[in-house]
Each structure stands twice: as structure tokens, then as C-alpha cells.
């Protein structure tokens, strides 16, 4: 009987210890968001046309976020990937231009936990982005290829609250590519000349002055138990001014996404 009592006490202590350890261990799970993005896009690329094209864009984005092993309360690692396409038309509506864009960024952010369930993030990321703007009506200059390797500043804010009894997380996230190496053809250079081997002046060092871009997301995440729904708005701008070629791509997109696993333990803790 005594032995049974001792074993029960030991089991209770171990269970209590494990529970304590679990509470001390901050969240180390991967939080992902999958979203469909749909909205308006305007495209100007003077290598192809002096006219600004307008149309509709559709994209799929995914992001994964995980706290670091060391100081998980402070440091967050995030991966962001997106594929995006747009079908645009010229002002006269008699020509179409297509924009295809693929990107991936990996970054680290420092978390600042403020009172009232508010968290701020600041960090940096590195990423690759590539794509093409294609204007079928052109002959020897039908496409403007895009490729870049970049370092970005990132910042964000999260406010965990409730909408009635529903957990709610308001998210603001901004990525500001600040230093990059990117490709651009010369002002009047054909891809035939590039194919021949003339690669002079194609690679450029980008900074805010010649290659300004920003990716800004405002979203509300609604906790629905084991999953959550994201509703948001993304403003994405890609501009460059190099080799006397002006490129401006602006996207305003409605973001609808799912967050498998819901809003996670953070909401529960608060």
C-alpha cells in the first residue's frame, strides 16, 4: 500500500514536472499561413511599352514562422514564398501584358513583447525573386525578365485580442528590400545581343534610389478552433529605374487565407 502511494506520488511529481517544463518551453511549433491573393495590378515597363497596363492579379502565398531554439521568446525565424500572376490590358484594351512573379524570402525577426498582447517585430530577410513581364504584341522586345537577390528590412506588429468570444489577431507586416543585385537589360538591348554573349551592364546593385520595392500586409486572423481564417489586404510595389528603363508594378490584393492549427498557444496564454 505504501509502495503504491509512493509510486502515485512519484507519478504525480513527474507529471507536474513535465507540465511545468511544458509551460516553461515557449511555442516551438511551426505556424504556417496559406493564402490566396486576388486584386488589381498596374504594370509599367518602358522596355516594353510607354503605357501603363491595368488588370487583375492572382497569387498564392505561404509563410512559415518558428521561434528560435535559443531565446525563443525573442527571436523568430520566418520563410515566405509566393507565386503571382497578372493579366493586364493597355488603355485601349486591344493588347494584353502578363506578369509572372515568384519569390522566396528567409528571415529572422526580433520580437518585442509589449503590454496588452501587443507584439512588435523587427528584423531582416534575404530572398530571391524572379519573373517576367510578357507583352506578346512586341517583336524583338516581347519580354522583360526579372531576377534579383536581395536583403530586406522587415517589421511587423501583432495584436492578440478577441472579437466577442472569437480569438482575433491583427497583423501588420512590411518587407522593405533595401540592398539587392538585380538583372535589367540595357535601354535598347535585344535579348538576341544578350544571347550572343554581351552581358555588359545587365547586373545592377539595387538600393532604394534605383530599385524601390515594398510588400505590406494588413490582416485580421480569426480563430476558429483548430484553424484560423485570415482576411487581409496586401499592397505590393516593385519599382526600378535603371538603364533609363522605368518599371513600376503595383498590386492591391485581397488576402484570404487559412492558418492550420489556429492561432496557437499565444492566444491561449493571453
Amino acid at each position: 500500500m505504501k509502495l503504491k502511494a509512493i509510486l502515485l506520488w512519484l507519478a504525480a511529481l513527474i507529471a507536474a514536472g513535465l507540465q511545468l517544463r511544458a509551460e516553461e518551453n515557449p511555442d516551438r511549433s511551426v505556424h504556417s499561413v496559406w493564402a490566396l491573393e486576388w486584386g488589381a495590378e498596374s504594370v509599367l515597363d518602358t522596355y516594353l511599352s510607354p503605357l501603363r497596363y491595368h488588370g487583375t492579379g492572382l497569387g498564392l502565398s505561404a509563410s512559415w514562422q518558428k521561434n528560435f531554439t535559443a531565446r525563443p521568446d525573442l527571436w523568430v525565424m520566418h520563410n515566405d514564398a509566393a507565386v503571382h500572376g497578372a493579366n493586364t490590358h493597355n488603355p485601349a484594351h486591344n493588347a494584353r501584358m502578363f506578369d509572372l512573379d515568384i519569390r522566396y524570402d528567409w528571415g529572422v525577426s526580433r520580437r518585442f513583447t509589449l503590454p496588452r498582447s501587443l507584439q512588435l517585430f523587427a528584423g531582416a530577410s534575404t530572398g530571391l525573386q524572379g519573373g517576367v513581364i510578357y507583352l506578346p504584341r512586341n517583336g524583338n522586345n516581347p519580354a522583360s525578365a526579372k531576377a534579383e537577390l536581395r536583403l530586406s528590412l522587415t517589421a511587423g506588429a501583432e495584436w492578440h485580442t478577441r472579437l466577442g468570444r472569437m480569438p482575433l489577431r491583427l497583423v501588420e507586416s512590411v518587407r522593405l528590400p533595401s540592398l539587392s543585385a538585380f538583372f535589367s537589360p540595357q535601354y535598347g538591348e535585344t535579348y538576341y545581343e544578350i544571347y550572343l554573349g554581351n552581358h555588359k551592364g545587365l547586373a545592377h546593385c539595387g538600393w532604394w534610389g534605383n530599385h524601390f520595392a515594398i510588400d505590406n500586409l494588413i490582416a485580421a486572423d480569426l480563430g476558429l478552433g483548430r484553424t484560423a481564417l485570415r482576411v487581409g489586404y496586401r499592397f505590393d510595389a516593385r519599382t526600378s529605374w535603371v538603364n533609363n528603363i522605368n518599371t513600376q508594378v503595383f498590386t492591391h490584393a485581397l488576402v484570404i487565407g487559412v492558418i492550420p492549427g489556429g492561432l496557437g498557444s499565444k492566444t491561449k496564454r493571453q
Partner: protein, 359 residues
Amino acid sequence: MISLRRHLYRSIRYVLLTLTTTLILPSCHEHEEYADDGAGNFLQLWEIIDQHYCFFEEKDIDWTEVGRKYAAQLKGTMTYDEYFNILAAMLDELEDGHVNLSSTFNTSYYRKWWSDYPQDFNLRTLQQYYLDFDYRQTSGISYRMLDGEIGYIYYPSFSSTVGNTNLDQILAYFEKSRALIIDIRDNGGGALTNIDTYVARFITEPTLGGYICHKTGPGHNDFSEPYAIVYKPCPANRVSYLDRPIMLLTNRSCFSAANAFASVMSQLPNVRIVGARTGGGGGLPFSSELPIGWTVRFSACPLFDADLNSIENGIDPTPGYEVHCTDTELALGHDAILDFALSTLREETADPSEEEQTK
């Protein structure tokens, strides 16, 4: 509660600041956009050509003066046809076959580069009297062995992609030929990459064929350094045509890629250009468009021969090989250019022992 409000206000300020930044900063690269009206489309067209056209200096064109001249012809009320004709006439001042204005009802085209010259070619005459309507065809190429074991190729358009395997077959067919005639008369051009495919069969080492350059900015003289176009011989497993005479037949309607091909071939020691001066078209064209939706095509990247001479005004026949055909002769079944090439090559390649036997 006060703390929460303070955080909220800060958050809202942060969001607004971010939005302001995102909306204002990207607009720093200004871009002038013209209205879709008479003046706007005219100015857009004038500016596209002003900033991108590559032969202003070579052709000594005062584009500002041209703009003034045609701007004065614009009226408050015009039909689309009248308006199109004014813009097209302005483009015709460039005297360039690569320049077109295209609308849904018309495409302007400067034709004088060939219409002011004899045609020097008749396809029906060729097919009926020289090929007997009996010739092989592949990759857009018609070919046949002619009397005297002279191989003959007719290639009417560089828009027809030449397959390496097809060219292997053609040149293998001419393996026993004594000479080769490549006829590109009336070839209006197409893809420059087809030149590589052909030239690779006629050389044994990398060969400088010419130069290309491009505009680096909107100024009339903003050009890059000419970049050498070097052609490489075909791999050993491909069929070459070496050490035998080749004649390239040209007329005034050889334009653009055909003109560039004539320029490259004229550099090769065993090649002679026979016929008439080519039509030119030594600038790779770019395309652009107007707010009204019309497209404009224009020369943007000048091409040069191996001596850095512009090929915009055409390639001359090899000295002593300029030949012309009259329409009457052609109608009667005589192609003077082809006759000249055949008789010259037969004479040059005739086997003396065969001649003895004939006697």
C-alpha cells in the same frame, strides 16, 4: 485602459506611416503619360521614335523639324484615316523599311527601298524553267541539283526556322556537287539566329561576321560599344560545305536578316554575292505602342559588317558580279542572275578531262 489606447494610437500611427510610405515613395521615378487624343498620340509617337530610333545621325534626320512639320498638319477634327496618314507620313521621313505604324484598319510601310528598283526575280520563272517544278522542300528551303553538278538552294524567308538535321540532309544531298548556289532573292528577313545555322556549315574556325550595338539612353547618340558577332563552325558530326565555291544570289528585296546574311557571307573567302544590291534593313526593330492602341515598329539596334560599316543601306554584290534581269527576260523564262551564276560556276568547276571527252 489608457495604456491600451496609447498602444492602439501608436499602432494606427505606425500603419498610417507605412501606408503613406508605400504610396508615395514608389512614384519617385516620374513617367510622362500622354492622353489618348490627337495631340497625345502624336507626341507619344514622336517621343518613342526620338528616344529609341537608331539611325538619326546616319541618315541626317532633324527629327524635331519633322515633328514640327507634321504637328502643323493636325486639325481639331479629323477622321481616324486622316490622322493615321499624318502619323504614317511622319514615319516615312525615316525612309526605313523596318518602320511601321499598325492600326486595326491599316499598316503603314515605307516601300521605296524596293519599289524604286527592278525586281530582278520571278519565282514562277525559277520554278518552271530552272527547277522544272521538280524540287525537294524542307525547313522552308527548296533545293535541287542543277546541271553541271551545281547544288541550288532557294530560301525565301528567314522566318522559316532552319533545322540542323534538315540542313544536314540538304548538304549531304549536295555532297558530290562542285559548287553551291544559295538564292535568297525576295527574302524579306526573319530570325537572325538562322544565320548562325547556315554560316556554321561554311566555316572551319570562329569567324567575325559583324557587330551589333544598342541604345543606352534616349539621346540620339547614346549607343553601346559595338559587340562582335562571332560565328562558330558546326560540330564535327554535322555536314559542312567547305572548299567549294558558293554564290549567294541577291536582289533589292533582300531585307533585314537576309541583308545581314549577305553581309556575313560576303566575308567568307569562297563566297561571292551575285545579283543586285540588297535592300538594307540593318537595324533590329523594337516595338512600342500609342495610347490609342496602335503599334509602332522601328529600328533600334544597328548592325555592322566585319569592318564596322553600317549595313542599313544594303550590301553590294561582289565587284564584277552585279547582274540584273529585265521583266521581259524573266517572263520569257530567262533569269539572268541565275544564268550568270550557273555559267560562271560551270566554267570554273568544269573537269578538263570531261571537256576533252565531250570534244
